[in-house]
Symmetry: C2
Subunit: 78 residues, 2 copies
């Protein structure tokens, strides 16, 4: 069964670069990738915070939150 | 042709987590992954810096440096 991977972003330049270079580099056979725009989907903010996300871009693989470079703090998206 | 991806680390807990969850999650058919321990291979420090790496763990995919969470600044490994 594929592991869930969620890429959280806010459409910032740092986010776009991370999505293109990293998020889509995951093995599609092993990971089920979902891309979530937290600026548009504010209803997903609580879920991201619960997963340990503090800034975007971030990739949550399984239950591991991975912050990639730094685009914006989550607090700035509320 | 596979894109070169280099995962730089220093064997710190944050590094180990990022290697297991992210570096090995890349699609092996599209990416040629090399794992470099900068604490042991200090001769690779200059190359990492030139690629834009400022802290470990970091993953350089093609020519894009991606810092993942934060384990240690590169300066601490010199």
């Amino acid at each position: 069964m594929a592991t869930k991977a969620i890429f959280y972003h806010a459409a910032c330049p740092v986010c776009v670069e991370a999505e293109q270079s990293l998020a889509h580099a995951l093995d599609k056979n092993r990971f089920d990738l979902e891309v979530v725009h937290l600026g548009q989907s504010k209803d997903r903010l609580a879920e991201a915070e619960k997963a340990g996300v503090k800034s975007v871009p971030a990739l949550v693989i399984g239950n591991v939150p991975l912050h990639i470079n730094h685009g914006a703090d989550l607090a700035a998206l509320k």
